[in-house]
Symmetry: C2
Subunit: 151 residues, 2 copies
């Protein structure tokens, strides 16, 4: 692979890394003290795919260690945003259910982000996003699929 081509992928991942940091900071600035992007992401995921997921399913979805997910969930439970109930299908397992407060937490965070996103209209139009997002999705799906294969 020629240097100039290598460099393009390198730059792409570099921008992605910086943007991740900036966007995480933007989100966390809108969250109550003690709550992080990881907490929001889990709640948001439970809304999207329906709650009742098990901790292991969530850990896989976010590609974090099981123990990390246990820790994140215990924080969410302490805030009353989720409830852990027994899994009727598997006595080893539990299911995670959203509470009304958990749903409200998500709504408030999203409402808080709206002015931030509004500001971004000056930097990147919705049409720009339309031109960008499909490529990122394509790359993400490929890397996601490839992640467990041998190198």
């Amino acid at each position: 692979m020629p240097e100039h081509e290598f460099s393009k992928y390198f730059q792409l991942f570099n921008e992605i890394g910086i943007l991740e940091q900036l966007s995480r900071a933007m989100l966390e600035a809108r969250l109550p003290t003690g709550l992080l992007a990881s907490h929001f992401s889990v709640i948001n995921h439970l809304i999207r795919v329906q709650d009742g997921r098990t901790p292991v399913e969530l850990a896989r979805a976010f590609q974090v260690a099981k123990t990390t997910m246990t820790h994140t969930l215990s924080g969410l439970e302490k805030h009353g945003f989720i409830e852990m109930r027994a899994n009727p299908d598997d006595k080893r397992s539990k299911c995670v259910w959203l509470t009304d407060q958990g749903r409200a937490f998500r709504q408030n965070a999203i409402r808080g982000l709206e002015p931030d996103f509004h500001n971004l209209l000056d930097a990147l139009s919705p049409e720009d996003i339309d031109a960008t997002l499909p490529n990122l999705t394509k790359l993400r799906m490929f890397m996601d699929k490839a992640r467990d294969k041998p190198s």
Copy 2:
């Protein structure tokens, strides 16, 4: 801001977050045990902007806490990849200098990434990157500029 527009920004940052995690894992798989993406990034930055930077300059460049950078640098020093020398212009301060081993560490990591990037050709062509990268750069520069302003 209408919901479908809000949703575009939301999806964009979601993809960015997932891609950051996947690409970090890809990089770290190519690094020697005990070395993380943060270590590589600092060495890489020192190559790009010339070494001799101070820890505070590096912390600002990566937007991490000063203490985090101290910790990362101490790891790099332990591996013999950098040297910390007194700053002749400021007795409070130090300068970070690359060693030959530090430069070799970067070269090896980059060489290791080449097959990974090669595989990505199937997912995202260099032309796709050309269509994507400028938008990401635009967004990153805007957010970077906005990050210290009041909301």
